[in-house]
């Protein structure tokens, strides 16, 4: 689904990703772990199309297409979803209204008829249950006044409604208490599907207790340094990232 080859990315002239390679297939769940500043968020932002990052060389191929030639919204229409690490507040913009506009833009692009408010609301109410999101959140302004945990839940709720093919979850577990983590992870598990790839960026092994990944990658110093199964995450937890660095 997604093939990343020799990706080099700079921010403000400083190279963050230094030749990253990664292949992700449909149905797989990948966890990307690594120390602070390793370039994890940079990777997810580049895939989603944030223009604050300069791709100096390398390629991103998604479903056979050059992802770098596509605008952020075109990537969204093609099924790329990013659950933000810090979801932004948009005062006065209704949560459901934003989501409906997003869903219908995608449907329009796919040549489908747009959902009317009634049909959309029935979809939304059903999906809200996945992450036990209270109906009152639907009519509130996007992320405005949400607690950290509510914002993250809202992200996974949006993912459920938008039904992406490739979901990037950027530290979705950070800032969650144990109960919220269980709920959010439960929602993500329900969204696992043979047609969908999920990439989780996280610092902590504990998320992986709830969502079992097929692959665990260690991203450090701008490259994937190590790839393994879930046992790699346990080893990391035990030995810390220095262990990876020592074994470079």
């Amino acid at each position: 689904m997604l093939v990343i080859k020799d990706l080099h990315v700079s921010v403000g002239g400083k190279e963050i990703l230094k030749g990253l390679n990664l292949t992700i297939n449909a149905g797989e769940v990948h966890a990307i772990m690594g120390p602070n500043g390793a370039g994890k968020s940079t990777l997810s932002n580049v895939i989603a199309g944030h223009d604050g990052y300069e791709v100096t060389s390398g390629s991103l191929t998604y479903k056979g297409e050059d992802l770098l030639a596509m605008k952020p919204e075109e990537r969204a229409w093609a099924g790329v979803f990013l659950a933000f690490q810090y979801p932004v507040e948009i005062p006065g913009v209704n949560n459901t209204y934003l989501l409906k506009a997003g869903v219908n833009a995608k449907r329009k692009h796919q040549g489908l008829t747009e959902l009317d408010a009634f049909d959309f609301m029935s979809v939304v109410k059903e999906k809200a249950k996945l992450v036990e999101l209270d109906a009152s959140f639907l009519s509130r302004s996007v992320n405005e006044g949400f607690s950290g945990g509510e914002k993250k839940r809202n992200e996974i709720f949006q993912m459920a409604v938008l039904e992406p093919d490739l979901a990037l979850l950027d530290e979705t577990d950070s800032g969650l208490d144990i109960d919220a983590l269980r709920i959010v992870a439960g929602g993500i598990n329900k969204l696992r599907s043979p047609d969908r790839a999920i990439v989780m960026i996280t610092h902590y092994q504990r998320l992986l207790d709830y969502i079992e990944p097929d692959f665990v990658h260690v991203l450090a110093e701008g490259k994937i340094q190590k790839t393994g199964d879930k046992s790699l995450a346990l080893k990391l937890e035990e030995h810390g990232y220095d262990w990876v660095k020592e074994n470079l």
Binding site: P72, I90, G92, G102
Partner: protein, 485 residues
């Protein structure tokens, strides 16, 4: 995502959707202003002598006045002798009795603007909106009169009111905005040609929203509407004013006066969606809009609210104000102003607290793009008898691009120690992170900008009647159209 430069450049490309000119023979006075012109206007309107004298008095005072220069706007001074002060669409001597008698081209114009008068009449029972359409200077079509008459409401062109209800007009005209109030108001007093008159009798709740559409259509013709609305004791009315203008190369002067009188326990809600032609991307053409709007809460527990959505005009000079004389009277001001390209707006409000326990609220939202400059200018005055008066002011500015500006000039005068004032002001740039978030969810950049801007304006749009809220949303979208190339 586009950079600020791109957004700014793209915003400049918007075109004025209502930019067309209707070809109708106009009965127009030659340019120039003197006492004879005023006599002529008064004669055309078949006015009584007291009205002519009132105009002449205003004119003589206007001659002694200087055009104000304190506003933060910059424009070529108007040559008042180069303007024609009267223009009327040619019609039969007696005004048309029904829409069938209205010039079909005129109706076509309204239809292009999405104001289907025929439909309005047809839908009378559904929408409950009465339209007193002002085309250039003469009201040519008034509908729903019978329903209003039944309720005892007077809603007619002010020229008609001067003839038919001289006592009411004499009592209230100029009682809120006197002839000598300011330069533009004095000019308006001298040469106003038409506008609306509304009187809601004691205890009557007006059975429908009242709405007037203004439209400038004759070359080099100043527009001087005069509106007078009186809510007698315990009365209620919601009045909507909306306007668009055809594309022009010459600047057109617009100096309206709106007076609202609110007596004991009465309430007026006055909403405006204003879309005068703003000029092209270099600022050529466009309307100069110098308006004096003032409400006088003359009675105890009187309430008034001004809600305005301003997207048009090259120059806007406008401060809808509230005089809170009556004890426990309430004044509110809700405003959204959008300026793009070279538009300049100096707008705000005045809240004059005179009575005890008076309350006022000011919510002002300014959006600037391109090279536009916008100022909020607000005065809150607590008089010495205004025991326990309260004011809350919130001014938010949103900037799109790097070349535009937003300025806030709050003036406060407090002469009573028990008064309470709160003021909040924010200025923000439309955030790259907000745009990216919306785009990541599948919105185009243009849709994302519209959504964020509409969200920013929500507090004010919520105050508009439903029909107008939809129109306001649409207007803002048109204004920001072309924000993505």
């Amino acid at each position: 995502m586009a950079s600020n430069e791109e957004i700014q450049e793209q915003l400049g490309k918007r075109e004025y959707e209502a930019g067309f000119v209707t070809d109708i023979e106009s009965d127009t006075l030659p340019p120039g202003l003197n006492e004879d012109v005023i006599r002529h206007i008064s004669a055309i309107k078949q006015e009584p002598e007291w009205m002519l004298n009132w105009r002449l008095e205003a004119y003589r005072h206007w001659l002694t006045m200087k055009e104000p220069t304190w506003a933060a706007v910059d424009y070529t001074p108007t040559d008042y002798q180069a303007i024609s002060y009267y223009s009327a669409p040619k019609s039969k001597d007696d005004g048309p009795e029904s829409l069938d008698e209205v010039d079909p081209k005129l109706l076509e114009t309204y239809e292009k603007l999405g104001i289907p008068l025929r439909e309005q009449e047809f839908l009378a029972g559904v929408t409950n909106v009465a339209v007193d359409a002002v085309f250039d200077s003469v009201s040519v079509a008034t509908t729903f009169k019978s329903k209003l008459t039944e309720a005892g409401v007077i809603f007619c062109p002010i020229s008609e009111a001067i003839r038919d209800y001289p006592e009411l007009v004499k009592q209230y005209l100029g009682s809120v905005v006197p002839q000598k109030d300011n330069f533009f108001a004095a000019l308006n007093c001298a040469v106003f040609t038409d506008g609306s008159f509304v009187y809601i009798p004691k205890g009557v709740r007006c059975p429908m929203e009242l709405s007037t559409y203004f439209r400038i259509n004759a070359l080099n013709t100043g527009q001087f509407e005069r509106t007078l609305i009186i809510a007698d004791e315990g009365a209620y009315v919601s009045y909507l004013e909306g306007c668009t203008a055809p594309m022009r190369d010459e600047n057109q002067l617009h100096a309206a006066v709106v007076e609202l009188v609110i007596l004991d326990d009465a309430e007026i809600k006055y909403a405006t969606v204003q879309n005068w032609y703003p000029g092209d991307e270099n600022g050529v053409g466009g309307i100069y809009n110098f308006v004096t709007k003032r409400a006088d809460c003359r009675g105890d527990r009187a309430k008034v609210s001004w809600t305005q959505v301003e997207t048009g005009s090259a120059i806007t000079w406008k401060y809808p104000s509230c005089i809170l004389q009556g004890d426990e009277s309430v004044g509110k001001f809700f405003s959204v102003a959008v300026t793009t390209n070279c538009q300049q707006a100096d707008t705000g409000t005045k809240m004059i607290h005179l009575g005890k326990n008076t309350k006022s609220t000011i919510i002002s939202k300014g959006i600037s793009a391109g090279r536009a400059q916008q100022s909020y200018r607000g005065l809150v005055r607590m008089g010495k008898n205004a025991e326990n008066a309260r004011n809350y002011t919130q001014c938010d500015s949103l900037l799109l691009g790097d070349a535009c500006g937003a300025h806030t000039f709050p003036y406060v005068e407090v002469k009573n120690a028990t008064a309470t004032l709160e003021h909040e002001a924010t200025t923000s740039k439309i955030g790259d992170e907000q745009l990216f978030y919306c785009q990541q969810r599948g919105l185009s950049e243009e849709d994302a900008v519209n959504m964020i801007v509409n969200g920013f304006c929500k507090d004010v749009f919520d105050e508009l009647p439903m029909e107008f809220a939809v129109e306001a949303n649409r207007l803002i979208e048109i204004s920001l159209e072309g924000s993505v190339g």
